[in-house]
Every structure is written in C-alpha cells, then in structure tokens.
C-alpha cells in the first residue's frame, strides 16, 4: 500500500480518490510515539493490502494482529495521535473505510476505543468488499485465473491485456494436437471464473504453442500473470 506525501489538507471524500487529513497544528510528536505510529501504519497497510489483493485471506487473523498492535499502544492518546498524523491514506476503493475509521476514533471515548476500533474495522471490511472498484475486481479475477488454471498441466503461460472494456486472457497451451477433454477442462475453469467475477467481461483465448520452449509471442503491453516452469518446456 502506497502512502503518499503531499499537501496537508482535507479534501471532500466524495470528490477524491485520495483521502487526506490535516495533522493537529500544535502537536509535538515524541520520537517513541512516532515509532508506534509507523508500526500502526504498517498494520493498517497490511489490512488494506489483504483486503485488496488477497480477498480470501483470513481477515479475522489480520484484525487480531491489528488489535494486538494497538494494544501495545495502550495510551489512547497515542492512537488518536496516530490517526491525526496519518496524513494521507490511499483510499481509492475504500474512501468510506478511511472516513469511518478516522471520524469514529477521533470522537470516541477512551473506554470503548479499542472495541470500537475492531468493530468498525469489521464493518468497514464488509463495506470495502461491497465498494470495490473495477480495477480491484479485475485484479482479484486475475489472481483467481492464475490459481485456477495452474491446476491444468498443459497451461504453459497466461497473459492479460485490456481491449476495449474486455479483459483479454491469452492462455498458451503446451499442445501438439487438439484435445477435446482438455478443452472441456479449460472451459469448466473459464465458466467458473466468469460466474465468480460477473462484473468483469472476459475474453479467453486458448493458443496451442506446441511443446518446444521458445519465447512467447505477445504484445509488449500484455502482462504475464502466470507462467509454468517445466523442464520439458
């Protein structure tokens, strides 16, 4: 997760893919707290990264780790300070996430801060999932594609490229002759991916490239998301 430096001001959440907050003007940050802030940012980053790039990852586990991290802070003021000092949070798909997180904790009483934090995080996780952007949906689908086709031995490599609004998925097969059973297996995987990622429009293309190892032919802008390294290829 990228944290950006930049102007320290507050922008309207709905107008921006980036959420920025201003630090309190009179805050003097002790060094030890700064370290904890860095730790806290790391934990938050980890959660966001998991949500965005590992949708099936164990979020509960991550939340527990976060809770553990924040328990170490002990002092509610430190947490509030961390939240104040977090100048920019890349929110892109999760503007609401950052908004809820920050606004609730800056106005929460000391007694229930930690509980509230975890509770809000859970709610926000659900919200983030609901509000994923198309880019994120596409990234998730690519992960599924790579994992799913990995199970098919003849799949040699997978390239992807956007074309119009389609996600073109070029699947290179180590194949010398047409194999109807293989085609069935490939299409079964493709069908499941289509049904699991209904908001992404795919164009799957299967190319037999023989068994001889040579460079793949592909457009320079196509991105390789999977390759199988077999000695025989």
């Amino acid at each position: 997760m990228t944290m950006l430096d930049g102007p320290q001001h507050t922008r309207t959440l709905s107008d921006s893919a980036w959420f920025e907050i201003s630090p309190p003007p009179d805050v003097n940050v002790p060094e030890e707290i700064e370290e904890k802030v860095v730790d806290g940012e790391g934990l938050l980053d980890e959660l966001l990264s998991r949500i965005l790039f590992h949708p099936s990852a164990n979020e509960t586990q991550t939340l527990r780790r976060m809770q553990g991290g924040y328990d170490e802070l002990r002092d509610v003021a430190n947490l509030a300070l961390y939240l104040h000092l977090k100048k920019q949070i890349q929110v892109n798909a999760f503007e609401g996430y950052a908004e809820s997180l920050l606004s609730s904790h800056l106005h929460t009483s000391q007694d229930n801060l930690y509980g509230s934090f975890i509770c809000d995080s859970s709610k926000i996780v659900a919200r983030v999932k609901k509000e994923k952007t198309q880019d994120i949906l596409e990234q998730e689908s690519l992960l599924d594609i790579a994992i799913s086709f990995d199970k098919i031995d003849k799949v040699r490599a997978i390239y992807v490229q956007k074309y119009r609004s389609e996600m073109q998925v070029q699947i290179l097969l180590a194949l010398d002759h047409y194999d109807d059973d293989l085609m069935d297996a490939l299409l079964d995987v493709e069908y499941d991916i289509r049904k699991q990622h209904v908001k992404v429009v795919f164009e799957f293309l299967y190319h037999p490239v023989g068994r001889v190892a040579t460079d793949d032919f592909i457009h320079p802008q196509a991105r390789c998301i999977y390759t199988k390294h077999h000695g025989r290829l």
Binding site: H177, D180, V201, E203, V209, F217, I218, P220
Partner: protein, 165 residues
Amino acid sequence: MILSIRRPAVSTPSTMADYRVHLSQARHNEEIADKLVQEPPFHDWAVTAAFYAAIHYFECWMFNSSHKHSETSIPMSNGKIKYSPHTWRQLIVEKEFDKPVWKSFRKLRDGSQTARYLSPSRPWHGVSPRWLNKPASDYFTPEAARKMVENNLAILKAALDIPSP
C-alpha cells in the same frame, strides 16, 4: 454487467426476412461443414464453417429477441462499442443458456480461431508471432472436427430452437 434480453417471441411477418436470411446462411454453412468434415485434409475448414453456421443460427435467435442483431446491440461507452461482436455474443449465450450450450459455442469459436490463424486472432503489432508448429489439418484430427461439427453445433441448434429444414 447487466444483460436484459427478452426471450424470443413469435416474429411478425414483416420481421421474418432477416430471420430467414440468417437461417438460410446458417444452413448453407452447415452443409459445407458436413461435406468438408468428410474430406480430410480439409476437415479443419469444417470447424470454421460450423462456427459460422453457429453464428447465423444464433442471429436467428437474436432476431426474435429485443436486440435483433448482435452488432447493433453492443453496449456503447464514450461513443465506442464496449465489446467485440464475438465477445458480446458469448456474453449473451452465457447469460441466456445453460453451460453445455455455452461450452459448445465456445468450442466452435475457439476451434475456428485456431484453425484459421494458428495463433491469436489479433496478431499483435510490433512482435513477431510464433505460430502453431503445424497446419490446422494436422492439429485437428478428422474425428475431433467431426465432433465439433456434429455434436457441438447440434447442441447449440437445439437450444436455439432452430427448426428442421
């Protein structure tokens, strides 16, 4: 993605002309597919003929839907079509029919593409393509081609309610 396609209704006489043209062309293509599949080494072209028969049979079905034609119903974005006609047809088949029908359509399309190009259908500029290391007539056995022409096309026709000649 939202597809809203009305199930085919009975066509009025004034709209039947295009339907009949598509049906006629589909049968014409299927007929040559049936012939070519019996004549190796030209059986690879049977796959392509069968795919183009499938397209025209599908257009018959489309003509009785609210969309009428694939090419004219592709969603637009900023003045440009969002998908290729092939992708659009596949989306509709996926949405409106069962998995075996979709798979049959996909097999015909994919087989036809390989039979014609031996590589991606849209060779990418700037990079020398690496083709399949044999002609399509060697890549597809006559049996494999026959299965596509006879089984896959038949599954699609049945789903599309194509009348017998």
